[in-house]
Subunit: 664 residues, 3 copies
Amino acid sequence: MYIGVDYYPEHWSKERWELDALLMHSAGFNVVRMAEFSWVFMEPEEGKFQFDWLDEVLDLLAKHEIQAILGTPTAVMPAWMAKKYPDSLAVDKYGNRLVWGVRKNNCFSSMSYNLLSERIIKTMAEHFSKISNVIGWQIDNEFGGPICYCEICHKNFQEWLKNKYQSIENLNKSLGTHFWGHKFNYWNEIPIPDDMNTHNPGLCLDWKRFCSWMNVKFQHNQVKILRELCPKHFITHNFMGLYPDINYYDLSEDLDHVSWDNYPVWKDNPFNEKQEIFYGASLSADVMRGLKQKNFWIMEQTAGPGGWGSFGRNTLPGEIKKISYQQLAHGADGIIWFRWRTCTAGREQYWHGLLGHDGKPLRRYKEAAETSREFHMIENEIKDTAIKTQAAIIYDYDSIWATQIQPSFDGNNYVENIHRYYNALLRQGINVDIIKQDEDFSKYKIIIASSLYILKKSTADKITTYVKNGGIFLTDFRSGVKNETNICYDITLPGLLTDVLGIEIEEYSAIPLNTEYPIKNVDGNEYHAIKYMDWITVKNAEVLANYQVQYLNNFAALTKNNFGKGRAYYAGTIIKEENFYDELIENILKDSGISSVIKPPLGVEISIRQDSSKILIFLINHTINKKEVKVPSGAEILINLERIKDTIILEPFGVEVIKIKKVL
Amino acid sequence: MYIGVDYYPEHWSKERWELDALLMHSAGFNVVRMAEFSWVFMEPEEGKFQFDWLDEVLDLLAKHEIQAILGTPTAVMPAWMAKKYPDSLAVDKYGNRLVWGVRKNNCFSSMSYNLLSERIIKTMAEHFSKISNVIGWQIDNEFGGPICYCEICHKNFQEWLKNKYQSIENLNKSLGTHFWGHKFNYWNEIPIPDDMNTHNPGLCLDWKRFCSWMNVKFQHNQVKILRELCPKHFITHNFMGLYPDINYYDLSEDLDHVSWDNYPVWKDNPFNEKQEIFYGASLSADVMRGLKQKNFWIMEQTAGPGGWGSFGRNTLPGEIKKISYQQLAHGADGIIWFRWRTCTAGREQYWHGLLGHDGKPLRRYKEAAETSREFHMIENEIKDTAIKTQAAIIYDYDSIWATQIQPSFDGNNYVENIHRYYNALLRQGINVDIIKQDEDFSKYKIIIASSLYILKKSTADKITTYVKNGGIFLTDFRSGVKNETNICYDITLPGLLTDVLGIEIEEYSAIPLNTEYPIKNVDGNEYHAIKYMDWITVKNAEVLANYQVQYLNNFAALTKNNFGKGRAYYAGTIIKEENFYDELIENILKDSGISSVIKPPLGVEISIRQDSSKILIFLINHTINKKEVKVPSGAEILINLERIKDTIILEPFGVEVIKIKKVL
Amino acid sequence: MYIGVDYYPEHWSKERWELDALLMHSAGFNVVRMAEFSWVFMEPEEGKFQFDWLDEVLDLLAKHEIQAILGTPTAVMPAWMAKKYPDSLAVDKYGNRLVWGVRKNNCFSSMSYNLLSERIIKTMAEHFSKISNVIGWQIDNEFGGPICYCEICHKNFQEWLKNKYQSIENLNKSLGTHFWGHKFNYWNEIPIPDDMNTHNPGLCLDWKRFCSWMNVKFQHNQVKILRELCPKHFITHNFMGLYPDINYYDLSEDLDHVSWDNYPVWKDNPFNEKQEIFYGASLSADVMRGLKQKNFWIMEQTAGPGGWGSFGRNTLPGEIKKISYQQLAHGADGIIWFRWRTCTAGREQYWHGLLGHDGKPLRRYKEAAETSREFHMIENEIKDTAIKTQAAIIYDYDSIWATQIQPSFDGNNYVENIHRYYNALLRQGINVDIIKQDEDFSKYKIIIASSLYILKKSTADKITTYVKNGGIFLTDFRSGVKNETNICYDITLPGLLTDVLGIEIEEYSAIPLNTEYPIKNVDGNEYHAIKYMDWITVKNAEVLANYQVQYLNNFAALTKNNFGKGRAYYAGTIIKEENFYDELIENILKDSGISSVIKPPLGVEISIRQDSSKILIFLINHTINKKEVKVPSGAEILINLERIKDTIILEPFGVEVIKIKKVL
């Protein structure tokens, strides 16, 4: 298993390098990532390349049995380049070139930027293909820079639209430019929709797609070079979890595996047991795993407080280990901490590493070393294990973008909507696959499609077949509203899903701010609807909960429809109370026949990796209180071997891994 | 009576048109508005006109006895025009041309835009003057676009100033450019005051006037063409109620009647009885009626939830009818719902019409049809009736703008200030005329001038005469502070109104945020002053309420002065408690001898239309609870004929119209 | 003693001037400031000068025994200049020239602006050097305008860096451009760091220094001219108290004395006894006094409510006097009210003067006249007295700017940090000197360095010597973190102060919003830490307070270290409770042997001016309640001679001055 750190030898004097390598090795680290911000050190003047310093570092690391992933350095162009080729810099929506001096400030359409990028990557690839402890590449760094509004990008966008729609008539029809008399005669009349809140929603969605595609295309060019020159090296990129502005399914396609940068929000109060903020990192991990339906790496893992101007709270004792186990549990096959030593200069002085500014191997280093030791202890068990589950949630970039463009109601938050079901599943001890619309649904017993705003006709068909064949399907408000060009279906809602859901929604309404509508479910429990409600009438479906409000009493809040061999649920509102979702998910699990190995106590997370012969259950206590977990008989304790085996007491932030052999 | 919908046939296939017309007709609709966003469909290429599609629609509508108002299409220029004549687009304050692709993005000074506008209107006018079921025109759509800062607009502003002030010396003196040494030598030195918070207040006010005038002038040019070519058609424009940035008195001058677009804010909780948000639509209606002292049309009436990105709440059952009656009650002579069918494409997908995306005639359609049926039932009674009242409130654009430029104190809100008196009058069952400074005051028994910041000398004289002759006048804080060039009078406040008010205000002060000063009135009731206070000492006036605060005990909060045959009241602060205004208005009504026919219970609105022979009392229950209203004897019930006549029980959102014959 | 007003004769007709002079004289005023916004009146056209109007005013004032300070008029360039020389106007960060028409809109690098400024000042100096009642000059007005991003400023910045760093290698090393590969090859590659939140922190700090230096240099050029042509006149500038964007130590260097503009925030509730907002004006005064370690003038003193758009509250009766005494008590040697008469035109119509818009000598005038009378009564006593104290607080512009650039934690407010200690000292009745890092420390018994983020090596050495020799030193969180190029020291915190403080801080953390951590001090009192905490372990120091929180129990919150003959305190967090600081300061005062003459009751401020023979104790009641102060025996009452001498009852907003002879 690969464990290591992000390392910036160029920040420190050569004299320090040896000590760094020694400390890494003694912590059990076997890999570093380097060079992703070092263009100017590798090409100090245009066309003059210089790799000796990096060779020297690599050589020294090799001596300490440390291997390296190299970043292609295109995330920061050198100062000389911005000066000599100003077209390399992106242009903001007011026509101003960005000021060089931060990072990710390039224009993807710039010929200069592309040519110079190509050359540095080729030169690096040729050089480092021969260095034995280089094992892989990270393309660029955290794709997702500023949007460029320059004339070339504008023209490229028009070209992209032409390729997509072929004829201007088709574009006009597809985007509905009849509205406000926005019909185009020629491609060159099409503007960049610079304000997502006012322009044609279809054009806005295409602009989001185009901007995403620019990243994918730029990465593709780099991958092509590296595949040719470094056939033995793996290629990855460091993704940013739930970052919404790039279609990560597309971006991951060319890569061997996905890596991601895990920075849980550190502005919470760690002494508050009720907080559920920790599920954020689990959902991110599962999204990352879902991109290629494959395990991933952590390329940057939080070590201490982070921030460019203000930092958040520090990791408490035990937390560094805990959040690393959480990723391991969700499918991480490599863990690299960010960063080795806190830098003393530049904008990230307060993005604290394992070592402080003083370079001493103190608490954070020691905790990472202990984590590393434990991971190596179980690495043979973990090897080739993966998460297998029968419950999936659809995560869809078109719907995310369309929701940005037209949220429908104030406070509609795509990620929060997903989280409600996701968290409830995790609280039941059930792992979740995150999938795209185009996934094969037949693998699952439960599929949840929350806020599937943009619904393809083909997906609707797949859902219908899936339920007909016995699947359990759950969807909710604002799903199936739009087609792929961001145009509303002209069918009464739930539109293409009407048959499978057995309901009809003739009208709907926002629920005003600070207002909540009581609802009651079939068991007589009271909950409260907020923000939005569909006015649901049932056709074939059964009402599971309905409104308790004047005028709205006739409408259902939650329904269930028997369809073919399966069942389709619809939730037409957001319920304030979390236990509504617990109850719903519990019922659906029962309905589907999925059961959990362990149902964890509140604040403890369970995740299971398995192979054909065993399951490994990860127990993670996210709280500062002790927690008790009953363990299935026959379980084997892997980390704290001295534990009593039937009931495990997890210390604050405590973790454990237990193994159960499969009966073959 | 004209009842109908805003119709966009160009959004739908021809095959649908017939069904649309049929459904309209069977709902009792007899008019549509069309074409205001259809420039590109009428002139698909520069100079090539094409009206056949619209002719076809008009013909079809005629067959179903539906007439049409056509919008001149200048609110959205075609894409080809923006591309070919980029000077047609407005320039923002940073010198950037706006990006085409929304609406109202033109520069009024652009020669291209003006010439092309003129041509399309002439061509339309010539063509449609001959179509028999075209009855009128709406100029453009909702004037009030972005401010243009281009060089031509800048020069036109300098020219406008030259016409106004004649000599640069006069301008310098009038605007007080001695301050900060801002004296001009030449007209071309005068900047656009691009920041209303920092530039010379007089220049800022002139810039507001100039920007308003640009709209009026642009409309005038269109009216001129239409008057000549379509002498039989009426001409109107769809105003936006309390939209503050155009002097609507000026804009209405060229028109036959005012129309307006009524979108009550739908972000409130309809189940909260205390809410008084519904008076907003009444005040707007009365402002619209006040522009020409004449009944008006609703050109766009809310049908369902609206919003470009997020929408608000849906109309509840009964509300569509209720808000239509409210407008009828305040002087609407035509009602047109926005829009016929909810469009599936473009930025207004969520501006819901009577029909949904699915095009089915469902609940909203049915409710509108029922409203239409009732309106037609009483249309003979309503015909030629108008609102007559002896109470007026002054509404003044100069004061609105001057308050924007220098609010005087934090949270000074012109409309809220007006609303306090307006609502109190409505709660007493008294209709209100909204008038301008230049109105004839002798028609009224009560005139209220709240926040009349900019007071003309001639108005001050008129007020003096009015009170001398027996009128009741009420004014308040920050009234009479400034002259017409936004310069403070150098007379101790209340300045030109000192004699008539009988008080003196040597100093004044903001009241700090979250602070309130207790006051007590002559009846011993306690209220609380917030935000601002004048330090009033009385000369001839009588103190009706004064402060109960250390240092400020000597100052009056409310005064009354007997002057000639009349009385003049002054309120030097904002009182937190609503019932302060109820009490004040009740006393003033008594003082003036005005009494209401019915004093409505809380939550019920009364408005009266009359002619020489009868009065029609509209009763509108704005709440979701039943309300009981006692009816004067001899009243005739016009809508729900089965009602018991002495006490009417209004259902939730219920309405009624009763008729009382005048004794001649 | 100089007492007077800011006067704008150019706002009023000549006929009024005589009355103005008469009223000033009868109020005891003997000085005015004039002309700082009158460029266009002195040079109405380019190169044509006209001083006759000002000569006439000066002559008239002389007749009434009033002298004058003249402002150089460069704060507002004439309209003709902006039109003819557009390069005189600054350029915003998006490349747009500012629109002329406010004030302070110039580019300091503009050749035109500099040449025309030079000429008007030379011409003025030559002319007014001969006028006998002109006594001094104010350079420009309230330096601190917009930042200019024009190409010339950009080049000047590169030049400034070149002068500072000499070689590009040295700059790269000093600023740490290795981070993100930001290494420069040539000076012209260096950008303006236009976003303080993202660019290299060292470059950002240099840009702040450069922008500050531009002001200093521009002032220097004016001073040079005036020194030569008007050798008898004093030269000052009107500073803005705690305005953070210019290094006021540098700006004061060329001047004879500092003047400042005192506008206490008038948005508070004056009836709230607990408010401590009044210490703001004291701290500002002490900062102003600290710039040159010398008494100062008030060049603009609040008369009434102020604001460009909205104004705040009015001065209550007694407050005009009270806030003037406060400044006198802290070292003011001249007091000039802003302004004489409230102007009726321009953007400052609501910056109310002693006279209102009506020009009548009412309440504010009378109160100022009474203040003037009392000041003249004691002027011989006050003459040549100064504040002497043994307690000093360091106030450091580098640290202020570095905190702006990287606050470290949310809500880190440099001025609030200083205020905590400053207020506690004032509550003990102890005067405070405000000093810079480079001050001679040996004069003091107590030195407090709060948030001394940027710590010079030389300062650290001085602190060490100071404590070794018996000084009491107190510092706190985020002190000593960075060197002068805004790079973090690579020594474990508290870095260079480790020895003297006897502690070690290996880690630190923000405290999340809305969270507080209990701490307990050695006396068992409980307090609460907020926002930020150092994880302090003691080496030689003693723990005075520590945390009461799981995981953090081992860490100290407050420590004390005996070092040499002195003591060094360290506070590693912000404590919510004010009395924590009272207790701490009380102990430190005891420790240092400093004691107060009078410890004032809550809400009463004490400040002492003295010379070799006497001390003058100023008593200021900041509240609206009566306050009792015990007076040392032998004290002489200077103002209200009828007072009983052992216990003074201060009326609401009441003041007194008492004199105690020194025993020689």
